[in-house]
Amino acid sequence: MSLAEYIQEKRKTKDILIMAHVVCGYPSFEDNIRALEIMQSAGVDLVELQFPFSEPSADGPLFVQANEESLKSGTTIGQCFDFMKEATTLFSFKVLMMGYYNTVFKMGEEEFLRRLVKAGGTGFILPDLPLEEAVNIHSLAIEKDLAPIILMTPTSSNERLAKLGAASRGMVYVVARKGVTGSKTVIGDNVLKLIEQCRKHTDVPIAVGFGIGGRKDVDALRGHADVAIVGSAALRAWKRSGASGLQDLFLSLSR
């Protein structure tokens, strides 16, 4: 089942889906599995697995540190794919790869996609790969029924949104605000307007991320977005109070 179909199917019984985020190998792969178990039991629908990179320039301090620590402990791309395979075997949520383009470039786009399919991944998010540079990998991905996730942002003009929309497959990732990951976003009229604007330019489901901190934000997105992306908030909860903090967060979202 393709990503768009999966989201549409689930949306029949849920008014908003949750996508969570895990940095592979941080604090450790054992902790990652524990986090995924909690996400699964709380009914999380999608998980992006971030492959750590040494120059995560689109990430905020929390993820920067996580990327750095993971690499320091020796995390390799091979381990990340093995972990993805384990996750897609053990759990029922769909898994996306998230990372920076150099990881893909060094491996070669075809080889990367081949391994992504083998690991059971559904698609990928590469925030530093603009549309203009993604022509080849997008067409290869579509051949393999993988979703190359496009990002739409508050600084995108209508003309740009039309271009992005035409290329969108599986799901669109709407960036709720300027800045890097991790700081708080107030889900106000401007975000809802942005979603509405994006919706005009694409038929695929819309996921909203950047600064989604808890139940209140998810509620605000209900009826507007198909998926709420909870990234930094989950890592923050884990760092503050471990597995139980993470559990509390995701249970509060699904209740």
Binding site: F53, Q65, M107, D128, T155, S156, V175
Partner: protein, 419 residues
């Protein structure tokens, strides 16, 4: 050859290198910058205003100095030096910064941010911001803040906020990442004054254009002085802005050999250097907004780099150089930390010139090669920066005991004043 005439659909590419690899949120900002730069480049008035400010504010044109003592001592080629160290703020960095300051005004933005390694680019940016009335934030790796305190002192006193970056290796590349993070939040009123000919298009082209003033002057001056073009031109290469600046005066002349001098650090196979092209440890990758040769591992993660000169201590190289190197238009050599110290001593004693540690890398290679050249041949070295402001680093590098005891006394004095 005009390297900036891009084939259709390949804008910002030099062969396979360059491009724009940025998050979608910056797409409109970079497009706005590209359009503004294109207008400025096509506007003769912009260039003449730029040259006028460099003349009245920075002291351009900088002279060319003949080095009779060193030339004689080495017994080969005649050595000439382009004196960009005589610019206001002590290096070629001011050229690019004045240019981008003018461009920032055209963009209607009132805040600038910049990364800095050695502190020279940050110093120049803070100076320009004070002069042009712009808010200024400088990002600098914690390691560099520690080794370049005098530049931090000046930046802060010029009114800039200096933020010490504690991520990653805590050097230049990490300062660039931090600038990107600031820029994705504040692009509406903020221009990113990138200091070298790296990063996403249009930065390599734009920085090269502003720095081309070095090569334009040098070609004319040397012809006037000697009646001929140089046989070889040497410049140090970190990101590669002073080198592309002076090389542009000679790119069209096949008789002139161009030599880029990288940081050999502790030497070949030491794994502690910043030689992307002279050594064989680098490979093609995409990071910090562009595609070029990076010092990275097989998984695409960046390697630790090292140089005695903070300004050369960088993982990637000007994408134009990756192309020109493959086209065999520019040769690359590396100078080790030890060789740099020796060349610095020699240059100071023989000619009374104090090149910056970065610049001294170009002297190393020229000094090695000059004896093997004929006496009628001409070497031109770009003295991109002056070393006297690097007094702490150079005193450390030369292990100067008298300086150390002076600092100890000074420290005792401050301590007494405090308690």
């Amino acid at each position: 050859m005009d390297i900036f005439e891009f084939p259709p659909g390949r804008e910002g590419y030099y062969g396979e290198y360059g491009g724009v690899f940025l998050p979608e949120i910056l797409q409109s900002t970079i497009q706005e910058l590209q359009e503004c730069f294109r207008k400025c480049k096509n506007d003769e008035k912009f260039w003449s205003e730029y040259i006028e400010i460099l003349k009245n504010y920075s002291g351009r044109p900088t002279p060319i100095t003949y080095l009779p003592n060193l030339s004689k001592q080495l017994g080969g080629a005649q050595i000439y030096v382009k004196r960009d160290d005589l610019n206001h703020t002590g290096s070629h960095k001011i050229n690019n910064v004045i240019g981008q300051g003018l461009l920032c005004k055209r963009l209607g933005k009132n805040r600038v941010i910049a990364e800095t390694g050695a502190g020279q680019h940050g110093f120049a940016t803070a100076t320009m911001a004070a002069r042009f009335g712009l808010d200024c934030t400088i990002y600098m790796g914690e390691v560099d803040v520690a080794r370049q305190r005098p530049n931090v002192f000046w930046m802060e006193n010029l009114g800039a906020q200096v933020i010490s970056v504690t991520d990653g290796q805590k050097t230049l590349k990490d300062a660039i990442n931090e600038c990107m993070r600031d820029w994705v939040s504040n692009m509406a009123d903020t221009h990113y004054v990138l200091g070298t000919a790296c990063g996403p298009h249009p930065f390599p082209e734009m920085v090269s254009w502003f720095q081309s003033v070095i090569g334009l002057e040098a070609r004319e001056q040397l012809l006037e002085l000697t009646g001929s073009l140089p046989d070889r031109v040497y410049a140090c290469v970190g990101g590669g802005s002073n080198a592309i600046g002076i090389f542009q005066g000679f790119l069209d002349s096949d008789s002139v050999e161009l030599i880029g001098c990288e940081a050999g650090g502790l030497g070949v196979e030491s794994n502690l250097h910043a030689a992307r092209l002279a050594y064989s440890d680098a490979s093609v990758g995409v990071a910090q907004g562009f595609k070029t040769y990076f010092l990275q591992n097989g998984q695409g993660n960046m390697l630790k780099t090292h140089s005695i000169a903070a300004g050369l201590d960088y993982i990637g190289i000007n994408p134009i150089f990756s192309y020109l190197w493959e086209e065999k238009k520019v040769r690359f050599e590396a100078a080790t930390d030890e060789e740099v110290k020796e060349a610095l001593r020699l240059t100071m004693r023989s000619e009374g010139l104090i090149p910056a540690l970065e610049t001294a890398h170009a002297f190393v290679t020229a000094i090695k090669e000059a004896p093997h050249m004929g006496r009628n041949e001409i070497i031109l070295i770009n003295q991109s920066g002056r070393g006297d402001k690097d007094i702490f680093t150079i005193a450390d590098a030369l292990d100067d005991q008298k300086w150390k005891s002076f600092i100890n006394e000074k420290s005792d004095q401050y301590h007494r004043e405090k308690y």
